[in-house]
Assembly symmetry: C2
Homo-oligomer: 540 residues x 2
């Protein structure tokens, strides 16, 4: 027996229409070199409809890919809706990609037009001769930067000036709406293609009280880029709920971010740990009473960072976990009511060091790699985290050989190693490929790094496995000493001895100037391993 409810498609124009009709007085503020530019959702909606006409005028195919190469700005938000709401597919390009990868993904996605901020256009222009499908680059003037001279380069505002608003209507909820490529620590970047349905459902989840709880009363500062991990769904949810947005533009320096938080009375801000590490020392003496949520994800959040925020502004960091492949919100750090009541301050801080509870809409299991059998929720047994749900990817775009990322029953293998406590909180302990396999047992490089980084003289630390004739692999620690401090190998090992199992102790400690980072700011173990390709263990 079938239900008798309307066959109403879950597509993005629904949320666009909400902002346009219900919240035309709310606004998007964009920070620019010339100061704050503020437009209302009413003005934004009109411009977004006109952008629909621009896409038509540029001759973009009905389901053509439209690249964006831009910071978080109101214009980028126009692209976020105009492209999918006219049936096309927005392809957000990571500003920090290496040129070869950028060329590869633009050609692979067959982008027909790329909308680029003027401040970064110079990064894109040299690639033009190799971009086989790109007919135009549209420059969005964000205040500075050189515009290369090329007949294919046109100006956003000139195109918009003549454009008439169009109607938005998408009826197939499984149609693609946007795509982004994962930075790919191995092999070629892989394209994740979001459907209208997945974005619609993810947007609802982001507005769910215990997930992120985005509300009309919020003023949201997404420091997390719109070109990375779907901006954690905040751009879509702000439009759907009528929340104000504060777009930081190109300047992500901690002092500027703090100024924005104060002057715009931000309630909710989201960024990676390094952002909040930079912001924390600047909070003293500032009025941040408007803040209700500081969201953090992308890599492990040190307990000291979260507690630092709690002590400085009364609001601890809320962790969220996800990946580009999971839209990205898969879990968030809601603390259950009875834990809030019964736990000590320190226990609560430990609980917040997990990535929280799985979001409604997502299923997860932690399994012995190579199986699909869930491991016990005992807070100790670790295994690979796998997820399923309507906003989880089922395949990569035209990428043969990607079946290794999925289980036989269709779940995503996240590559994260996790333990689950008896309350269902997920704690990430490593990436599967970053585990050090020693004598048939696993050593968690992330746990070792966290312990080493707790040393007051350590700025950063990364642990990698080095081939060993007897043990298969043994860990070495690559340590960055804080400026002005001195530290020895023995001091590091002495610090670790009471904190980890004896056989986890690194076979060597190497001091380096900095830990190499990926294009999205994470530790690049791949680059680090390449650096140590000729290194021989003292114990080998």
């Amino acid at each position: 027996m079938q239900g008798l409810m309307q066959d109403y498609p879950l597509t993005l124009p629904h949320f666009f229409h909400r902002a346009e009709r219900l919240f035309p007085k709310k606004h998007v503020a964009t920070n620019t070199p010339g100061g704050i530019e503020r437009i209302t959702y009413g003005e934004w909606a009109d411009r977004t409809r006109r952008l629909g006409a621009v896409l038509e005028a540029l001759g973009v195919s009905p389901d053509g890919r439209v690249g964006s190469f831009a910071w978080n700005t109101a214009r980028h938000l126009e692209l976020y809706f105009a492209v999918p709401c006219t049936g096309r597919v927005l392809h957000t390009l990571n500003l920090r990609l290496f040129p070869a990868d950028l060329t590869y993904i633009i050609n692979h996605a067959e982008d027909e037009v790329i909308f680029a901020d003027r401040s970064v256009a110079a990064l894109l222009a040299p690639l033009l001769p190799e971009l086989t499908t790109v007919k135009h680059i549209v420059i969005m003037d964000d205040g500075k930067g050189d515009v290369p001279d090329d007949p294919r380069i046109v100006d956003y505002e000139k195109l918009m000036a003549d454009a008439k608003p169009v109607e938005f209507n998408v009826t197939d909820e499984n149609q693609a709406g946007s795509m982004m490529y994962t930075s790919g620590t191995t092999g070629k970047p892989k394209g994740v293609v979001y459907s209208h349905r997945s974005m619609w459902l993810h947007t609802m989840a982001v507005m769910v009280h215990d997930v992120l709880g985005v509300s009309e009363v919020d003023t949201i500062l997404p420091v997390v880029p719109m070109f990375h991990a779907n901006c954690w769904g905040l751009a879509h949810a702000a439009v759907a709920s009528g929340a104000n947005l504060v777009m930081p533009g190109a300047d992500l320096s901690p002092p500027t971010l703090v100024d924005l938080m104060v002057s715009e009375k931000v309630t909710m801000a989201a960024g990676v740990p390094t952002i909040w590490m930079g912001v924390l020392p600047l909070l003293a003496g500032r009025d941040l009473s408007s803040i209700t949520k500081v969201l953090c994800g992308g890599s492990a959040v040190p307990k000291s960072l979260s507690e630092g925020f709690r002590e400085a502004i009364g609001v601890p960091i809320t962790q969220a976990w996800g990946m580009t492949e999971t839209s990205p919100i898969a879990s968030t750090g809601h603390i259950k009511s009875y834990l809030q009541e019964s736990m000590s301050i320190d226990e609560l801080a430990d609980q917040r060091a997990t990535v929280g509870l799985i979001a409604p809409g997502v299923e997860f299991r932690v399994v012995e790699p190579g199986t699909v059998s869930p491991l016990p929720w005992d807070g100790v047994t670790s295994g690979e985290l796998q997820v399923a749900g309507p906003w989880i990817v089922r395949d990569y775009y035209n990428h043969p050989g990607s079946q290794e990322s999925f289980t036989p029953d269709g779940w995503l293998r996240t590559g994260d190693v996790a333990v689950v406590d008896d309350e269902g909180y997920i704690k990430l302990v490593d990436r599967t490929k970053d585990l050090v396999k020693s004598g048939g047992e696993w050593i968690s490089s992330v746990e070792l790094e966290n312990e080493i980084m707790a040393h007051p003289k350590v700025a950063e630390a990364a642990v990698i496995g080095i081939a060993h004739p007897k043990w298969d692999e043994r860990p070495i620690a690559c340590v960055v000493i804080k400026a002005g401090e001195e530290l020895t190998k023995d001091e590091v090992l002495d610090h670790l001895r009471p904190r980890v199992a004896k056989w986890w102790l690194p076979d060597d400690v190497v001091f380096i100037d900095e830990v190499p980072k990926t294009s999205v700011g994470k530790f690049s173990k791949k680059t680090l391993r390449e650096k140590f390709v000729d290194y021989t263990l003292p114990t080998a």
Copy 2:
């Protein structure tokens, strides 16, 4: 181009598994004649799985209809999930239906088994000879009442004792999961059939911050029956979010409700206006500091009632609007942040007297009846409220001739007359069929009733249209005087004169003992009109 996200079905087992795995320590408290009975979601989940085996043992067809004839209890919540999660369809029966309607809908839905509370079993037993498809009545012992002697009658707990837990898995999101019949002010009751998809999406919406914002931190008292309007989605959302539930059972008396709110530290309670009118005088001196939301819907909420709550406990009433046909949550009274900041206390009270903003997921328009062209949002122009969305009904169950309830483009004609203000807030002014058509113009019976009920000596008032040779129809007011008071026709008309247009003044005022009510407690204009079928206007 299609998206590449998982084809993950939106079905109810997902939410069941959340409560079972993530919130097994949270609880459902049921008020019974013997006191509070409390079971955890862990115990509830085990019982719900065993109920799945009971349905199998009773021989219910794979998609068979299973009736419930019960108060709000933990057992009713077992049915709410066990029936749809085994692929069957829960048919909640309204305890207050007239016997002929009850017989009609049970036979029309072809219920195979009915689960009935012992306290109401005696209402059902006399119908047994006419129930052509019912094989068993399963008695759920709620503390009192006679169990008729009939071989088809069996005991819930005896069946459960032997049952082994079953697995839940539903893969088709468009499959039916539950159904309820509308009370039907004209003609036969009409069946609304919810799909798993519609209930899944509606549950997510109910958890969205600005809709109802149901959270794990909540303790929810649904006074609204589980057999009416899908319990406003609160039963499903509590399970999905891990909120505690307080089930009032058979005793809905105001003193008992207030006691429950205090002793169970209820945060969110939901009921119709008459419930809160009874509760309001009992709030003084009680500790209701746990309350964060008092939800009200079903009929117009007098401003004085909402303000009474605000003054008594610091929390005004939040209105919600919907119908059985809309799952039911279609709009809720979120007040926009800038209105909160700029409006006076009295203006805010007026804003709360609307039914609020349309929920994300629902589209609405107010049109001149007979058209699909939206009327302006000017706060004045009224028309028929029509809605569309994934949890709005598209047709009634096996009910020929129901196309009059839908527009040519498939939207639901709600039968409500509404105006919309320039902020998008919807205000209901009448039911289309209760409008009085006088001289080609409409008179709102609801507005007249509200004005009359504002008179300090009036307990209740209902306005109906009476045939008139010249004007087509003219209004008369049927007024119930407060106990111990006296009131004349002229006093009522004098009270109205400065408040309504002269041509709206009723042609007569008739004093009655009470306004007849429907099975769900609303004014039954149909019954009132029947009473006045032989009445002749003094002006005719």
